[in-house]
């Protein structure tokens, strides 16, 4: 970034792109050339900034001004005011919701204050399609250091000393995995990057690949050097077209710079990277299934051992690591294991990226040191629960994890604490739920997912999860019995004990954790035929209280099925036989005249 006096970084992440960030770029480019500034100011599309809730984000360098919720029509003011006259466009600055003060730079926004960015260090700072920018921020320095100054054993020792554990869910020590794969004798070995990210409601790996693809490439080359592999494969979801495109560009650039290919940096070490596409099967995130899928087969898991480190892709030793795990590697090499292992808790070092979503004010992508409490994440970073509602639960670990309650809010987040609390770290999905979420429905939602995604190989997983789902559906429809609750528990234990892979072994977790933490809700469904959260359609009724109804006709006009009748200024009435219980009238009514019973 030398020739330009200023840079405008625009979020090109999926969320902001959906809110027309590409159009903002076009408009900015247009105004800049109109005022002959296009040689002085450069506009770049970057990866996700993390603060998706307030997207589209535009950041101005070098002064670091951070604009939120920018629209294409704001481009003119940014150019006229900020770039030409040198004063920030106030109305586009983030307003601290606590005191309404405008905040100019990202570092002063509460959302970012408690974060430490290691894996996401470059996301939102560089143009992911330009290798020079990556290099300008220490990119490929770690690779150079490894290849020219360190033996593979020394690199592995550094990773082991750092305490880095796999970010794909299992939490296996990364250095140890590399060492095991290194010690297996074979002429052909593989490095695989697991970019299958199947957790529904998570987009960490995708954001890293979209925002900083070179970090993953650099780490894969380092891994290849350590274990003695000359080929790397990235298994990536075909549903991630932007990430695929950026990876391809990055691989091409790295080849051009002699960082991939034969005789890298003149050291005699050779390495190439190819892409393999997933086709939308969650179970293919499991490493043995992933390997079978790369071999062109159905993605069904197989028994371990043999572990992929010993016998993986085409029967050869294969080291599988997650995207985020790889993204930590270059930093560990550059800054040293002793820098890294000071961050985090005793057994979980470094940071973790979470996709924070659900009923929370600041939905986005965050990276926090291990040991941060759930309360800090939800209230300080996440800005608390949306619409002033009550916090009910936070779900971590996706379909394999559990729902935690208030009493766990002060638990420091790390691998072991989350397991002890009855959930797990998983790959980093974190969904916050409020008083309006029915926990039985949530359990049913996850079961519906595992049911669809079970590969079908084991009976307990294929049939057992179906039965769990049926029972949960029965309960949400008001036909459950107290015996059903016992059945859920027994069946869950059996499925956990007898399934082959991690999918089946963890699929009952959402059921068990909700049974443990929200038994009263289950009981209300089966004993009283009530859904306390008012979400189970079969169990709720919307009614208009004639005393409170002013006859404003708002509900009448919004009901999608015409179930509401009534005249202006006369109390309205809901025809229960037509009502589909969409809840729109309830939300729209300004007079609290509609009740949910």
């Amino acid at each position: 970034m030398t020739d330009y006096r200023m840079h405008l970084l625009i979020c090109g992440g999926t969320g902001c792109k959906a809110s027309e960030s590409s159009e903002i770029k076009n408009q900015l480019d247009q105004y800049l050339s109109e005022y002959d500034l296009d040689q002085e100011v450069q506009v770049l599309l970057t990866g996700c900034f993390g603060f998706c809730e307030k997207g589209p984000i535009v950041k101005v360098l070098p002064d670091n001004t951070f604009y939120t919720e920018v629209k294409p029509s704001d481009a003119k003011d940014i150019v006229m005011e900020h770039i030409i006259k040198g004063r920030p466009v106030k109305r586009l600055l983030y307003k601290n919701p606590k005191n309404d003060y405008e905040v100019t730079t990202a570092t002063n926004i509460d959302f970012y204050k408690k974060q430490i960015r290691i894996a996401l260090r470059n996301c939102g700072f560089i143009n992911p399609e330009n290798i020079d920018e990556y290099i300008g921020r220490d990119g490929y320095a770690a690779l150079g250091k490894c290849l020219t100054e360190m033996t593979p054993e020394e690199v592995i020792k550094e990773i082991k000393d750092s305490g880095l554990r796999g970010r794909g869910g299992g939490g296996f020590p990364t250095g140890l995995k590399w060492e095991i794969t290194r010690n297996v004798q074979n002429d052909q070995k593989y490095v695989v990057c697991n970019a299958d990210e199947g957790d529904p409601g998570a987009f960490m790996d995708r954001s890293i690949l979209e925002g900083d693809p070179h970090t993953v490439i650099e780490a894969m080359i380092i891994c290849g050097y350590c274990i003695g592999a000359d080929t790397g494969l990235v298994y990536i979801r075909a549903e991630y077209p932007l990430a695929i495109e950026r990876l391809k560009i990055a691989i091409g650039q790295a080849e051009e710079y002699g960082l991939l290919g034969n005789d890298i940096l003149g050291t005699g070490f050779s390495f190439k990277i190819e892409l393999r596409y997933g086709a939308g099967a969650f179970v293919c995130g499991e490493e043995t299934a992933l390997i079978h899928s790369m071999e062109g087969l159905r993605g069904e898991p197989t028994v371990k051992p043999p572990f992929p480190s010993v016998s993986g892709y085409n029967g050869k030793p294969t080291n599988v690591n997650n995207v985020e795990t790889f993204a930590n590697i270059p930093v560990i090499i550059n800054k040293g294991a002793n820098w890294f292992n000071k961050i985090g808790t005793e057994k979980s070092k470094g940071t973790k990226v979470f996709a924070l979503a659900g009923k929370i004010n600041n939905v986005g992508l965050i990276e926090v040191p291990m040991g941060t409490t759930l309360r800090e994440v939800i209230y300080d970073i996440g800005g608390g629960i949306k619409d002033g509602k009550q916090f009910k639960s936070v779900q971590t670990g996706g379909p394999s994890g559990g729902c935690l309650t208030k009493k766990f809010l002060d638990t420091p987040i790390d691998y072991d604490n989350l397991v002890e609390a009855g959930s797990m770290m998983g790959s980093g999905g974190m969904i916050v739920m409020d008083e309006d979420d029915c926990m039985v429905s949530i359990a049913r939602f996850y079961l519906e997912f595992t049911l669809e995604e079970s590969c079908g190989k084991c009976n307990p997983c294929r049939i057992g999860n179906k039965r769990l789902h049926e029972i949960l559906t029965r309960i949400t429809e008001g036909n459950g019995t107290p015996e059903d609750i016992d059945r859920l528990r027994v069946l869950s234990e059996v499925i956990k004990d007898t399934s082959l892979c991690g999918l089946g072994q963890s699929s009952p977790n959402p059921v068990l954790s909700t049974l443990n933490n929200f038994m009263d809700e289950y009981l209300a469904h089966v004993n009283e035929g009530k859904c306390p959260a008012g979400q189970c359609k079969a169990l709720v009724r919307y009614e208009i209280n004639p005393e409170l109804c002013t006859g404003c006709t708002l509900c009448f006009r919004n009901c999608p099925v015409g179930a509401i009748t009534g005249e202006r200024r006369v109390a309205h009435f809901i025809d229960q036989s037509l009502c589909i219980k969409c809840g729109v009238c309830f939300e729209k009514c300004k007079f609290n005249a509609i009740s949910l019973t």
């Binding site: 969320g15 998706c52 409601g201 939308g280 993605g299 659900g358 669809e452 999608p560 969409c582």
Partner: protein, 168 residues
């Protein structure tokens, strides 16, 4: 399903893709990605050609096609509508949005309208959770969709043909 007669041209397209991957059985998934990219879907007749070219059984090809949700045996509508059913969207009311689409279009998930204009599908997290609930029509992403907006979204495409959303 009625049997489809593939044109020679289509058969040639499939054969070319297979040849590009050296007719290797281990490349099956890559072949399927590419063929679906070109034809839009993978009906049984197409699978038969692929099986012949890669010298493998139709059962194996079928087994792979049906295993992966990305592969489809049904043609997509002119405007493919997908409702995000990821957790973030689910807790922000995606189910109500979905049922409204089903009601308006009178189709179930995985089906197309009889005029071939719309098809309805679910997907899991498009990475725009901040905009939940999310609906995509072709390439276009709609955020914070309320059930009451569903009618308008459909109308946008039903009446005037909108080029952005048209995908191969």
């Amino acid at each position: 399903m009625p049997k489809i007669k593939l044109s020679d041209n289509t058969i040639n397209i499939i054969k070319e893709v297979c040849a590009e991957f050296d007719n290797k059985e281990s490349e099956l998934i890559n072949v399927l990605h590419k063929v679906q990219g070109k034809l839009g879907y993978l009906p049984a007749e197409v699978q038969e050609v692929i099986a012949r070219e890669l010298k493998t059984s139709v059962a194996k090809v079928y087994g792979v096609v049906t295993f992966y949700s990305f592969f489809t045996m049904i043609p997509k509508g002119e405007f493919p509508i997908s409702i995000c059913m990821g957790t973030a969207c689910y807790v922000r009311g995606a189910e109500q949005v979905l049922s409204e689409f089903k009601r308006q279009l009178k189709v179930e998930v995985g089906e197309s309208t009889s005029d071939g204009k719309f098809s309805l599908n679910c997907l899991r997290c498009v990475g725009a959770c901040g905009l939940a609930p999310v609906v995509t029509v072709g390439e276009k992403v709609y955020g914070r969709v309320a059930p009451t907006q569903v009618k308008d979204i459909i109308a946008e495409y039903r009446n005037n043909v909108c080029d952005v959303a048209r995908t191969a």
